[in-house]
Amino acid sequence: MSESTQPDPDQSNIHHVIAADDISDGERIIVDITGREIAVFHSNGEFYALSNYCTHQGGPACEGLLSGTLDVDGDDELAWACDDEIVACPWHGWEFDITDGTHTASDDYRLPTYDVHILDGELYVEL
């Protein structure tokens, strides 16, 4: 997210989505922007926009469970991590980090991400 920048809403690559207040923390909205299905998440106080098309087999990646994941701590003990920042594609359970689109296990399957702007309380996605 880049709230600091002030995009010109009239630019053709900036698309209005919704009023920022209309997505509560922990929720998401999935919109069609010029034929692309894009999910906008509000998580831990930040907004993130990602493609809803799973780079694995084309499933609706951003429609699955938003939670965290199991990781290991400094002592190699199991620990819960990235709470509310991991979305799991409902087709095969592939996990993606919504903050940067990366797959938790591989750099080969990243979900495209898009910049999010907030201008006068309105949320825009930049393609």
């Binding site: 469970l65 939670s67 199991l70 290991v72 799991a88 087709w91 591989s106 399957y109």
Partner: protein
């Protein structure tokens, strides 16, 4: 002709027919219990008693935590024809052989007669509520391996029913193994009915019978041909999941005496599962196959496929054996490999450097000769 035909198939829309040979129901006990026949109908459908929330489950549960059980993957409910249509719209088949889920565990049901009764009840339900051959919905009649004679009778009862296109043995927990003569009446019934037998395991049941399976393999051939690679696969899977190569990054392992083809298969199978279950192996920082390529080595004997050079050379390529395969003879065991046999296959495909590696240079690096 064939090449012209091949060129025309650019997408699934160009296929003459799509038949999905394993499309699952997600049936529940309560779906099939009403179809139980006497005496288990009276016994189990009394609506009396208290099962403390779990005793009423007649199918053993493994209790493992999967991506589906924690909500990271959705598994659609498929208990009606309408549910089937939803999956059909996604998979786009013309016909399907419909198979169970809960009843993949049928072979692990402790009560043998109940297991046979559950097979009958499932088939009753399947025929009454699910199958619709005019609409492409075919099914496999299931049988309980615990009661082979009743299984044969079940096949005879269902053989001429519209929509029954196969028989399924829930094969994951059979005891004895499927070569035992007790199953011959079942095989005879299926053969006479012209029904192929589907063998389908459930991941949670397979190892429940391993000690008795070992005992049941009362000849040397099946033990020797399967146990080496099975044991290596289970050990490697456990070591990778718990992060052994990550915890001991300077430690190498050598996998011996199990042949080669299973190894590149295992690399890809494990990677495939890992991609949807990273949370289950959080110690790992790279793909499981990468740890295998970096810290694991394989010795050659007993090399399978020496009469099939293309198979063997491609197999070795598939696990980058030029860097990780090491010659071994196994002398004086009865299945030892003579030194030149593998070389005949390697010469046509591998570089001199790779062959030198396989026959000794890699071993010089792996073992502590100094």
């Amino acid at each position: 002709m064939s090449s012209i035909t091949d060129q025309q198939i650019r997408s699934i829309d160009d296929l003459e027919v799509i038949i999905d040979t394993d499309f699952h129901l997600t049936e529940r006990q309560e779906d099939i219990f009403p179809y139980l026949e006497s005496p288990f109908d009276e016994l189990l459908n009394s609506q009396q008693g208290d099962d403390y929330g779990y005793l009423g489950r007649v199918y053993p549960a493994h209790g493992m935590v999967y991506s589906v059980t924690i909500g990271k993957a959705d598994s659609e409910t498929v208990r009606t024809k309408e549910d089937i249509q939803k999956g059909r719209d996604l998979v786009e088949w013309d016909k399907a052989i419909i198979t169970p889920t809960q009843n993949l565990y049928l072979g692990a049901v402790h009560h043998d007669d109940l297991a046979a009764a559950l097979a009958t009840a499932y088939n009753n339900w399947l025929l009454d509520e699910i199958l619709d051959p005019e609409n492409g919905l075919y099914g496999a009649a299931i049988v309980a391996p615990q009661k082979p004679q009743k299984a044969a009778e079940e096949v005879e009862r269902r053989a001429n029913e519209d929509g029954i296109a196969a028989v399924m043995i829930p094969s994951g927990s059979v005891d004895p193994l499927l070569g035992h003569e007790s199953y011959y009446p079942l095989y005879d019934a299926c053969e006479r009915a012209g029904l192929p037998i589907k063998m389908h395991n459930a991941a949670g049941t397979m190892m429940t019978r391993f000690p008795s399976t070992w005992q049941a393999m009362n000849r040397a051939l099946p033990v020797h041909a399967t146990s080496h690679n099975m044991m290596h696969q289970t050990n490697l899977a456990d070591m990778l999941t718990r992060g052994v190569p990550e915890r001991f990054p300077d430690l190498n392992f050598v996998i011996q005496e199990s042949g080669l083809g299973w190894y590149p298969y295992f690399m890809r199978r494990f990677d495939h599962d890992y991609m949807g279950a990273k949370w289950d192996a959080p110690m790992l920082d790279k793909r499981p196959s990468e740890y295998l390529k970096d810290q694991f080595y394989v010795t050659s004997q007993p090399v399978e496929g020496l009469d099939d050079p293309q198979y063997l050379t491609e197999t070795i390529r598939h696990f980058e054996g030029g860097d990780s395969l090491m010659f071994s003879s196994d002398y004086p065991h009865f299945d030892f490999d003579n030194t030149g046999e593998l070389l005949k296959m390697l010469r046509s495909e591998f570089t001199s450097e790779e062959i030198q590696n396989i026959y000794g240079k890699t071993a010089e690096r792996v073992y502590a000769f100094d």
